[in-house]
Every structure is written in C-alpha cells, then in structure tokens.
Symmetry: C2
Subunit: 308 residues, 2 copies
Amino acid sequence: MEQIRIFCPATVANISCGFDVLGLCLDTIGDEMIIRKTSRKGIHISKISGQSLPTDPHKNVAGVAAMAMLKNLNTDNGFEIEIQKNIKAGSGIGSSAASAAGAVYGINKLMGSPFGTSEMVAFAMEGEQLASGALHADNVAPALFGGFTLVRSYDPLDIVKIHCPGELAVAVIHPQIEVKTSDARAVLKKNIPLKSAIRQWGNLGGLISGLYTEDYELISRSLHDEIVEPHRSVLIPAFKELKEAAALNGALGSGISGSGPSVFALCKGEKTARKVADAMKKVYSKTGVAHELHISKINPEGIKILDR
Amino acid sequence: MEQIRIFCPATVANISCGFDVLGLCLDTIGDEMIIRKTSRKGIHISKISGQSLPTDPHKNVAGVAAMAMLKNLNTDNGFEIEIQKNIKAGSGIGSSAASAAGAVYGINKLMGSPFGTSEMVAFAMEGEQLASGALHADNVAPALFGGFTLVRSYDPLDIVKIHCPGELAVAVIHPQIEVKTSDARAVLKKNIPLKSAIRQWGNLGGLISGLYTEDYELISRSLHDEIVEPHRSVLIPAFKELKEAAALNGALGSGISGSGPSVFALCKGEKTARKVADAMKKVYSKTGVAHELHISKINPEGIKILDR
C-alpha cells in the first residue's frame, strides 16, 4: 500500500461534567486526508484545500504529529500529506485534532500498523500542542478510538473507551465568532470549591454509568457542569437561550464543545437531534450571528479508510 | 408478619477517588437487628447489646431514622427495635449507617414495602445526620442497595447502583484509635486546585468504567486520591506502610475507609484479601496499636433477612 485516503472526524471534548477528560466522535463532519509513502525522506504537506493553513510541517499540526511518529519509525521512506479541511479552525469541534490524528493514523496504516491506538494518541497530542500550547488528548482520543473516550490519566497516558449507546446523537451549533483558547483558559479559576468538585465527579460517575447501562435518563440527569460552563459561557452569544431551546426540544443535555464557541446537545435519536438543531437555529436567527449546524450520530470507530 | 430479624452490613465509603460519592457493602461484618410491630405507638428501642449506646430514640441513629420513616407512614402501630452492635462505633466502616439503614429496612418490610430503596436511603440519612452532623448517604446507600453505589446527587437525591465484578474482595484494618469526624473534616481544604480535581474525576471515570467492564487492571490504575488522602492519612498510624504492604501483596488499591481510622484494600479474590490482611497485621504488630481485621467479599444485596 503506497497511499491511503481517510475521513478524519470532528469531535466534541469536555461534555459538561467531563471537563478535560471526556470526548466523543462525530460522524457527519470531518476532513479528508491523503497520506502517501514517498522515497523522499521526511514529512511534506503537498496541498491544503478548504482553509488557508501553513504547509510547513513544523507549523502545521498534521506535520508535527507526523514527525513525532516518524522519529519512532525505522524507515527509509518519507510521507506526503494532502488535507481537505472541512472542519473550521477555531470551531471547538476538534479541527486541529482531526488533522493530527489523521496524519498519524494514515502513516501507521501505510507502515503496517506498528503502533497501537494509545501510542497514536500520544503522537497526535504533539500536534495538538502546536495548536493549543498544551498536550491534550480529549479530541485526538475520540478521533482515533471512536465513540466516547475518557482520558483517565496523562502521566502515564491512559485512555479508556467507554461503551456508547447506539441511539445517541449530537446537534452542534457553531457560532462563527472567534473564541481564543487562551481566553477560554483565562476565565477559568485555578482553584475550585471542594463541594463543587464533588458534585462534578458525582455527575461524571453518573454519566459513565448511564453510558454503560444505556440509561438515557441517567445520562440526562448527569449532564451538568458547574465548574467551567458558568465562566466560559459568557463568551458565547445567547448560550442560555441555546440551552433552554435544547432542553425544551428533548435534548438529554447540552454544553460547550471543547473550549467553544460551538455548543453541543446530546440527544436520544437523530430525529430529536434534528429538532434540537432547528430550535438552536431559531435562537440564532434572532441574534444575527452567522452560524453552522451539524447533526450526527456518534461515530463508533473514529477515523475511516475511504480508499487505499 | 410481626417481627423481622436482619443482618445490617458494614460499608466502606469514599473508596479513594470517589470521595463523598462512592460506597461499597461488606458481607462478613455487620450488626443484627430485630424490629417488631407493636400496638404501642411510636419508636422504642428495647435493647442494645455489644455497645453502650443511648436507647432514647431521639438520641439513637436507628431511632431517628425510624421516626423519620414513621412520620411518612399511615399506621396505628409503633415499632420496637433491638440492636446487637457488632460494628464498632467510630471505626469508619459505617457503624451508624448500619443501624439507621437496618431500622428503616425492617419497618419497611413489616409494612409491606411501601417505600423504594432510594426513599429508605433518605430516611436513613436523617439517622446519619444525628451521628455526623451531615446528611450523607455514602454508607447508608451501599448498606441498602448492596454492591457498589454512587451518590450522583443530593439535591435531588439520586443513587446509582454500579455493576460490581464478582471476584472483588476487601481487606479492612481497624486501628482502635479515635479519629473524630470533625477532625477528619477539619483537615480538608475548602478549595482545591482545578488540576487535581480533573485528575480525580479522570480516576473516578476509570474506576466506574473498570467496574462495568470487570477490568481489574483499570480498577487498580484508578484507585488514587490526591485530594483527601494526603490530608487525612496523617491521622492514621503507619498509613503509608499499610498502603505499601497492600500493594506489595497484590491489592488493587487501598485507602481510608470513610473518614477513618479504618483502612481498606480492594483485592481481586478473597485469597489475595487474606494475604493483604496478613501483611497489614504484620505492619501493625510493630506499632503496638490495637487493631481488628476484616476480610470480606462485596455483598451484592445489602441488608439480609435472617428470619421473620
């Protein structure tokens, strides 16, 4: 195999009570990437369409992730990367993660899969570091594992794939404003009340339990975030109205996707997700803020091979 | 049915990363209670053996819990309670919870089970409030539900029973020193670093996932507590040595039971739990601190009826 074409999905990180540890994988929105094995050594990004992004591999998340993997491969070959970006940068649904995860997934496949999924996550995180300044895995993990993932620990890296009920679907609204990750980080408190933390981990326990037992009511009761959402939501236009519209139209819960500005609503069934997306659209039609909507089932497998 | 005799099990609350939310039920240590329906109205405690505790129902956790339930029952009868206390008060393995849970369980059975398990937890919590000054459920919930329980929320009360792998067993060492709950509370910080909280809920997610998937390695990797244990463990003699002995002898993890002074070790299999208990005993033979040991499988059903 000398070339592989893959679908690199968007992802939702945090998921209310799962700040910095949970993520889920979407199915209907993602980038396309072509990775080619070349006799020319090193990593080369030959083409990026859809968005204006640097092709210098040292300045591109896919390039940095690919180079991190290449350093650990014993090969005389190099790799050429083409990216069709469909996930908007800065949307909060894992645009950089899709590129970083795609690059390592593609190279790993072309090399006969020498690395396991968790090892791929570690390489992809180096790409993520270029994008956000932090080694975080909550988007690259669901992109590579699919479904729902938990980052139990960073040191050592320990990713757990959580069972995901088949009917879960997601509605996402992406307000086309810029929320800088640095701003989203700056509004957070360094210290939090122990009492709030206890409520948060009670909810996280409920959410994970609900996912394993496919108890949609429990999932719904657990989707709260009193640590991060109150601070970050002020950066998102009409956040409260979006949440109310989601709840009124049957969503299990809703919150900020990653560090925003996208807002997700978790739903039982795609039909409900469509209804919730329509209601969110209605809220935004009043604000005048340009926006995009996505409706998706949870993607259980992550990155998909389109052809070889 | 006019009388019921029941076994009211000891319980372990907190369980490392599950501070204030997780609890588990033991099988080999517990009180015995006899509850009788009487024509005399109200709650009467006729006999307490094994320990010196007040028989005035207003000053006894079983009495307070029973009265809380009685207020919500439409009956002309009253109830008489006899308690054989085997769980030492102040041991940190749910002595007061066993009495409170037993009282409401017994009365509920004698009345034809008008209340569900979560409602019984709410009544039993009123007894717990007398003992500790706080309405907490992390011992009464596992006593009444059995197995592993999560208190997802107190407002509204929401208890989740978590799947428990069949081979899980517990070794408990009870150093016979007094650790006042007020002291154990006082050493806690009101505010905690967000970073520590994230690691804690990552571990809680891992533990719950490991319980559902019966992944003992994941359970083991998740049994950490960096929020409470560092502060409370100073109140427990040779705590570090107990943890080391437990780890060296194959325990999945260990920590403070409730607010102490008991220390638990979670193990795969009773054989390992016995080995760990022996190793803990050896540690304590050097300290000269009097102690008791308990070895138990997890009790999946909670309170048991001995006869009617």
